[in-house]
């Protein structure tokens, strides 16, 4: 444990609530949905105890929750919300609006299968399907990372003026209880100063938001968003490094696990990374040159870093816990486009692994490595249960 931190046994959702407490938000509009609800429950409890001073609003739907987030954020308030699956899908219209209006909202999404059929299982399609909405997207592997990422996310969102979505997998992260270092308030205050937005309600500025624009202005607003998006990778690097200096836990857009001299690199996101770590350790013990590349920052995708990391690696297996009908795994598609034209690009296999929350044990990952690493990749989706 580092510095003046406090070790607690926390689920991923409760870790998020503590991250929110430490970030001192002003407004928190949330509508309940399984398996996000424990975030709302814990925030309610912390607020009742006087540990969170924010206005906690429980609107009549997620669409209303996100609407309230946008207007609250544009007054200059620090805003947090949380949702999952259907709730995120219902927000879709406002997700575009939030990024277009440059609202610095931070949201935690608990990755859960979308209906139909109904299910409550870990699957990342809900948030991956929002990849074009203009939100920064981070994927978290553990409760500790979720807490740490919430605090870092405010700094990134408020500097870039782009909303941030942190996703963690249903149950595997949201409900799994682990020891978590909860940093002190003074440490977090040092890392994350109060939000001073240049977009705010201020008589000196006198602004109206969201007015219809002509083509040229609309085009300009997208270019501005793009210019800010280009800064995000560095902001995530800075935030992760500064956080590491204070807590001993550093983060970046990508994480490399035993990839030195690897003949095979497994690329994945979220809780699957924990399973892959175990599998990598076992395979390394047997002399297999395998490593893992964890994608933490999915939007904007760290394309340059991915190209640098994978050039010269003979083979990469992308494990997707999601299925985009008609194409395959979303991360696989993204990797293919990121590596396009790269000299020495790996043979890139896209494997649909654990779609719908199906359990994938480390032993299964070992099998996949031996089954696919010598093969030529196929074009269509590959289902491996």
């Amino acid at each position: 444990m580092h510095g003046n931190a406090n070790g607690l046994l926390l689920s991923g959702n409760h870790a998020v609530a503590h991250g929110v407490r430490l970030a001192r938000p002003d407004v928190i509009p949330v509508y309940p949905i399984t398996p996000q609800t424990p975030i709302l429950e814990k925030i309610t409890e912390l607020q009742a105890e006087g540990q969170i001073a924010a206005e906690l609003l429980t609107p009549e739907s997620e669409h209303s929750a996100m609407s309230a987030c946008i207007s609250a954020s544009l007054t200059g308030a620090r805003v947090f919300t949380a949702t999952s699956s259907q709730g995120l899908l219902l927000m879709h219209e406002l997700l575009h609006y939030a990024s277009g209006a440059r609202a610095s909202i931070v949201m935690c999404n608990v990755n859960r299968t979308p209906a139909a059929p109904w299910g409550f299982w870990p699957d990342q399609l809900d948030s991956l399907a929002q990849r074009d909405t203009g939100w920064i997207q981070l994927y978290s592997e553990t409760p500790q990372e979720s807490l740490d990422s919430v605090i870092q996310a405010f700094r990134v969102a408020e500097t870039a003026r782009i909303p941030v979505m942190i996703s963690h997998d249903a149950f595997y992260v949201s409900h799994a209880v682990e020891p978590v270092d909860v940093p002190s308030q003074s440490l977090v205050d040092e890392f994350l100063p109060a939000f001073r937005s240049d977009i705010r309600l201020d008589t000196e500025i006198g602004r109206s938001f969201g007015a219809p624009n002509d083509q040229a202005n609309w085009n300009r607003s997208r270019r501005e968003l793009d210019a800010s998006m280009q800064t995000v990778n560095d902001l995530v690097i800075d935030a992760g490094r500064d956080w590491g200096a204070l807590t001993g836990r550093s983060y970046g857009p990508l994480e490399f696990y035993r990839t030195e001299d690897a003949e095979v690199v497994i690329v994945t996101m979220g809780s699957m990374c924990g399973t892959v770590r175990d599998a990598v350790d076992e395979m390394r013990d047997k002399g297999v040159a395998v490593g893992m590349l964890k994608v933490r920052l999915f939007r904007p995708l760290p394309v340059a870093a991915l190209r640098e990391a994978l050039a010269g690696v003979p083979c990469a297996l992308v494990l997707d816990r999601n299925y985009s009908p008609g194409t395959g795994g979303v991360l696989h598609q993204e990797l293919k486009s990121a590596l396009y034209g790269l000299a020495g690009a790996p043979r890139l296999h896209g494997l649909l692994t654990g779609v719908g929350g199906v359990n994938v044990a480390p032993g299964r990952i070992e099998q996949l490595v031996s089954e696919f690493s010598g093969k030529e990749p196929v074009v269509g989706p590959v289902w491996v249960e």
Partner: protein
């Protein structure tokens, strides 16, 4: 009783073989019983009935009723029910769900369904709480209901669903109590028979997150006055009653939404032809 006068259907004919997963003592069990009894009494064939819901504990009901069923998305049961009814006007369409589903996320649809006055019956199992997501207050929750998830109460004025239904144009408005299945069955029979949009609020305790609602059986009472066809009178009564007044409170004469367009049929031979590939 001779054989040919025996009822064509029994309530059990409308029970599916799926075992409900509601908590023991949940009021929704008796709603299910009343729905199946009402359908038996009306003698509708199971294939002439469709039950549509949103999401929530109460919204699980279509799976438990032996008829066409559709478990939709949260808050959208009424638009789904409306689409079904315009495509197949011959079907008896029951739309069912909870107070969160119907008055929070689906609140706008509730008003527009009343206004459209299409011939469907909307059953809301009102337990004044979001049961499925473990106990958050809903639009019908009392402002001072103190719980871990609403410390000190919401302080918000509760919704008056029956009055909103009247103001929005519903043609039949009633309130019943799940713990009185005989009465609930009678009311459902009348609601289904009445043309246009019928709204039945069934007080249905959530024994898990609102154990206090077990006490409802002692406070519900029959409406002291006769039903009326005057919406203003009905509204005044409902606004001033104690919320536990049971009975048919309004039976209106508004012409239901007239379905134009395609002829519908329940003749299976004709349907077979229509859908032949």
């Amino acid at each position: 009783m001779t054989a040919h006068t025996a009822p064509a259907f029994k309530a059990s004919d409308y029970k599916s073989d799926i075992k409900p997963v509601w908590c023991p003592g949940c009021g929704d069990y008796h709603v299910l019983l009343s729905v199946t009894r009402a359908l038996a009494e009306l003698g509708r064939r199971p294939e002439d009935v469709a039950c549509i819901s949103g999401i929530g504990c109460s919204s699980r009901i279509p799976a438990y009723v032996n008829c066409y069923g559709f478990h939709g998305v949260h808050g959208r049961s009424l638009p789904i029910g409306t689409g079904l009814k315009v495509a197949r006007p011959d079907l008896t369409v029951l739309v069912a769900g909870g107070d969160g589903d119907g008055f929070s996320i689906g609140g706008n649809h509730f008003q527009h369904a009343c206004r459209r006055n299409i011939d469907i019956t909307y059953i809301v199992m009102d337990n004044r709480v979001y049961g499925m997501t473990k106990g958050q207050p809903s639009p019908t929750t009392e402002p001072d209901w103190d719980s871990a998830l609403s410390p000190g109460g919401t302080g918000l004025s509760p919704f008056h669903p029956l009055v909103i239904a009247l103001a929005s144009g519903a043609n039949f408005v009633a309130r019943t109590f799940s713990g009185d299945p005989n009465r609930t069955t009678e009311v459902l029979v009348e609601a289904i028979k009445h043309p246009g949009f019928s709204f039945v609020q069934i007080l249905s305790p959530c024994v898990t997150f609102r154990p206090d609602e077990r006490g409802w059986k002692d406070v519900v009472h029959t409406a002291a006055v006769e039903e009326t066809d005057d919406p203003a009178r009905a509204a005044r009564r409902i606004m001033t009653d104690d919320g536990f007044n049971i009975g048919i409170l309004y039976r209106g004469n508004r012409a239901p939404y007239k379905l134009t367009g395609r002829e519908a049929t329940s003749d299976t031979d004709q349907l077979g032809e229509m859908f032949a590939i």
